[in-house]
Symmetry: C2
Subunit: 191 residues, 2 copies
């Protein structure tokens, strides 16, 4: 049983035939670190489920400052939701941070699968619901917590990531500059 099927069966149960049909509509790809698999300004036509490795999505402001929207490691999905849903050019880049194996589900195949296996509507509804809740929390945290508190939450929520992700990208994710993050971190250590 592959990992993506495990992921789906957490929320709905598929027959072996449905599993096979689902898998037949996906494609497994291997990417080297630093590959950009989605560019801002282009229409996003695929969602990605991460089998192994590490990816991130981010946008670039005024052609200078990067803002990390999300990280995705084993068992996570990643895409440019805005662009994928609207099929308009998006603002996000998606970059492979560590050599990765991903399961690719194209927008076209996903839409077909909704018709062929209506239960998948439920699966993706639940997936998106969870994303929305996480996003709302992150938004409120950004409005109401200090950078230090946000970093503490980040450490608790994604204990695996702190080791793997360059510090400047954690800084970007929680919404501060790398310089300030560095200062803050050493201030926190001194306590």
């Amino acid at each position: 049983m592959t990992s993506i099927i495990q992921n789906i069966s957490k929320h709905i149960s598929l027959t072996p035939e449905e599993e096979a049909l689902f898998l037949s509509k996906t494609e497994t790809r291997h990417y080297k670190a630093k590959t950009i698999i989605q560019n801002a300004g282009q229409v996003c036509r695929e969602g990605y489920f991460v089998n192994s490795g590490l990816l991130r999505s981010f946008n670039i402001n005024d052609n200078i400052v990067e803002h990390v929207m999300s990280f995705a490691c084993e068992g996570w999905w990643i895409s440019d939701m805005y662009s994928l849903l609207s099929q308009k050019p998006g603002n996000l880049f998606i970059e492979v941070m560590e050599d990765a194996e991903v399961v690719v589900l194209s927008k076209v195949n996903q839409d077909q699968l909704y018709l062929e296996i209506p239960k998948l509507e439920r699966f993706f509804r639940i997936l998106i619901e969870n994303s929305l809740v996480a996003n709302q929390e992150r938004l409120m945290d950004n409005l109401s917590l200090t950078a230090e508190e946000r970093f503490e939450k980040f450490c608790k929520k994604y204990p695996g990531l702190i080791q793997k992700v360059p510090q400047k990208q954690i800084a970007s994710f929680i919404g501060v500059t790398p310089e300030f993050f560095s200062k803050m971190k050493s201030r926190m250590l001194r306590k």
Copy 2:
């Protein structure tokens, strides 16, 4: 044809029987302005579709500072998604800002309806997808734009709300204090 059925039929089509079934699982309520219909610390058991009037959801930080999570006027849905989905105590209050008529869909009935009218999975999936995209944009805006830019976006996105919503709550929504918002506004007018 009631407004909530119009709202649904934007994304899926229901038979007259399904429409009737759906409506039979809802309840229409009238609330006076200033009513709190959901309290932080309690489990949220209902979602609300606004027929008329104006509501907002917000949390309170350190028992002092309010942060507006969302506004909802005619044709919008509002709830405490985290609490509604997890059935754990939530952090949000939901308050009626202007006398309102709302269609109430309880969690229990919603779950039943998913079984009786599976197409509704699709409807709510799409609804949540759109919320997620809007939320992601708001998050990136908070990370990368100035308060002034966020306010300009707010005005474009919700032209109707600026008239109706007290200024301090717009301030809270875009993430600044009422005092700073006031100063910023007069600075913007001077140009």
